[in-house]
């Protein structure tokens, strides 16, 4: 099952490391990453595979929120099927 993770916030050292570490600890495999900086704002979009996830979804959400606060970014995970339903006919 694939999902899209977005990370948005003011750029600083260690955002990618911090986020990918959380995903790695959760057993989540990253499939693709795209990342840009726009007006000092860091934006990263990742496609990830939740198939091997070893955490409950609630636990993952809580950890991503904590990591987001630590790194000063907003991390959102959205199910790929939701995006497919909304944006693809």
């Amino acid at each position: 099952m694939d999902a899209i993770v977005t990370v948005v916030g003011k750029d600083q050292v260690g955002i990618i490391a911090g986020v990918t570490q959380e995903l790695s600890h959760a057993g989540i495999n990253i499939l693709t990453i795209s990342q840009t900086i726009l007006d000092e704002y860091f934006t990263m979009i990742m496609k990830v595979d939740l198939g091997g996830m070893i955490l409950a979804r609630q636990e993952l959400n809580a950890r991503l929120e904590t990591a987001g606060m630590r790194l000063g970014v907003q991390i959102t995970l959205i199910h790929e099927e939701v995006l497919n339903a909304m944006h693809r006919i």
């Binding site: 899209i4 977005t6 693709t32 795209s34 934006t43 979009i45 496609k47 979804r57 609630q58 959400n61 959102t76 995970l77 959205i78 199910h79 790929e80 099927e81 939701v82 995006l83 339903a85 909304m86 944006h87």
Partner: protein, 453 residues
């Protein structure tokens, strides 16, 4: 990347800041096999069947919500109109049936259960009479049961005996629940052309043509529509209609995804998606604010009926394109106390009961959640019901009335119901009598279906 950044951000914004949600997953359950000549046996069958079929409804809803990251606000149940099931028992008062439904709703953890209902558009059966007579006591003595009565249809006309009686029932129910501002009336809907697959409360029931058990999903998203319209300020109505349609499409597709997943997990067929702009008292979840975004100072200003017609139609078109099984009411709801923007319009003097009635000619429901003075006569309430039923019957659409004559309150005073039901000012109602009109009784014949000029 399969999706553009804009697409991803748009979806995230809808959930995070524009309050897009699945308003309800409603499980429709047929109780037709529960009837018995013993009331006790019937009630035991009803309780057991609801608890068996809906056992996992709440848990599954919460699991889907977490996994897909989509808020699912309510899990609810609708059942076969109880008048049809309780009738065989021969009992005279169906309050015990309502209590059984209430107990089942509490056991499975749903916040409302609809279907304490009777369909009397052409006339009463013995069970219909018993049920309608029981409504004030049944709703006053239960927490989660919702009742509805269908008093008219395009093919049968309007049962004016029922219209007259419902005026008294509304008054009696308000009186019995006077300590909560007549809150019981918020759980009673009087319909014309009631639909059989509506997932929204308080008017949900499981129609007789429905399957054994079914999952219907009600979606809402006035905040999303308003935000979408913010990006086309000043543009023509062609652009407005297109924008609403596209947005409604996206929302409905998301709803269908959830409906199919819920259906799969519960092993119950998927029925319909009902995409309705249903407000809640929360700021940012208002239908009235859409009118303001369209350029009206307040909802109720001249142009409001046209705005609602456009909104309702565009929402339906977007929804129908997105799902093959759109049903229920699917349109825009215009309740008063449940919508902070409507309440503000009433307080500003922009919105009257008469303007609301005009707007119900083009909306998907009717006079909804309107607080009236406590001394409003039963015949006046019946008159309002008759007018609303006439609009529905003549225009081939569903109309509904959910009025609350708040005991002891006068025009302009505030009543607070709390939660999703909100609160609002008591609205003025005509002081001219409808008594002799309502006392006539009988039936208003079905309207002619040709010569439409």
């Amino acid at each position: 990347m399969v999706f553009t950044q804009q697409e991803i951000e748009e979806s995230i914004r809808m959930f995070r800041s524009q309050k897009l949600d699945i308003r309800t997953i409603t499980m429709g359950i047929s109780l037709r096999d529960c009837a018995s000549d013993s009331g006790e046996t019937a009630r035991r069958r009803i309780y057991d069947k609801i608890c068996r079929l809906a056992e996992k409804l709440v848990v599954s809803g919460e699991a889907i919500s977490l996994e897909y990251g989509i808020p699912i606000i309510n899990k609810r149940i609708s059942v076969t109109p109880v008048a049809m099931i309780a009738e065989a028992s021969g009992e005279k008062n169906y309050t015990a049936f309502a209590k059984t439904l209430d107990a089942a709703a509490k056991t499975v953890g749903v916040n409302f259960l609809g279907g304490f209902s009777a369909l009397v558009q052409k006339g009463y059966t013995t069970g219909d009479r018993a049920l309608i007579r029981s409504i004030p006591q049944a709703l006053a003595e239960t927490d989660r049961v919702c009742a509805s009565v269908n008093v008219g249809s395009t093919s049968a006309g309007i049962n004016m005996d029922a219209v007259r009686q419902m005026g008294f029932v509304v008054k009696a129910l308000a009186h019995r629940t006077a300590d909560t501002g007549g809150l019981g009336c918020a759980k009673l809907v009087i319909f014309a052309n009631a639909v059989e697959d509506n997932p929204f409360m308080a008017g949900a029931f499981h129609g007789v043509g429905e399957p054994e058990c079914v999952i219907n999903v009600g979606l809402s998203g006035p905040g999303v529509i308003k935000s979408a319209l913010e990006s086309v300020r000043g543009e023509s109505f062609d652009v407005v209609a297109e924008t609403i349609k596209k947005t409604a499409f996206k929302i409905t597709r998301m709803g269908e995804l959830v409906a199919r997943e819920a259906s799969r997990r519960l092993g119950v067929p998927f029925g319909i998606i009902d995409l309705s702009l249903a407000p809640t008292p929360a700021v940012g979840d208002s239908v009235a604010r859409i009118f303001q975004e369209l350029g009206l100072e307040y909802v109720g200003a001249p142009g409001s009926t046209a705005a609602l017609a456009l909104l309702n139609d565009a929402v339906k078109k977007g929804g129908i394109m997105a799902s093959s099984h759109v049903g229920g009411l699917s349109g825009a709801f215009i309740p008063v106390t449940e919508d902070e923007g409507m309440v503000e319009a009433v307080q500003a003097g922009a919105l009257s009961l008469e303007k609301l009635e005009a707007m119900t000619c083009v909306c998907s429901v009717g006079l909804d959640m309107i607080a009236l003075p406590g001394d409003t006569p039963a015949a006046t309430i019946s008159g309002l019901i008759a007018d609303e039923a006439a609009i529905g019957v003549t225009n081939h659409k569903t109309t509904a009335v959910r009025l609350i004559p708040v005991p002891g309150k006068k025009v302009g005073e505030w009543v607070e119901f709390g939660g999703l039901l909100g609160g609002g000012p008591i609205m003025a109602v005509s002081r001219f009598s409808s008594l002799d009109f309502i006392n006539r009784g009988g039936r208003i014949p079905a309207p002619v279906h040709s010569f439409k000029n």
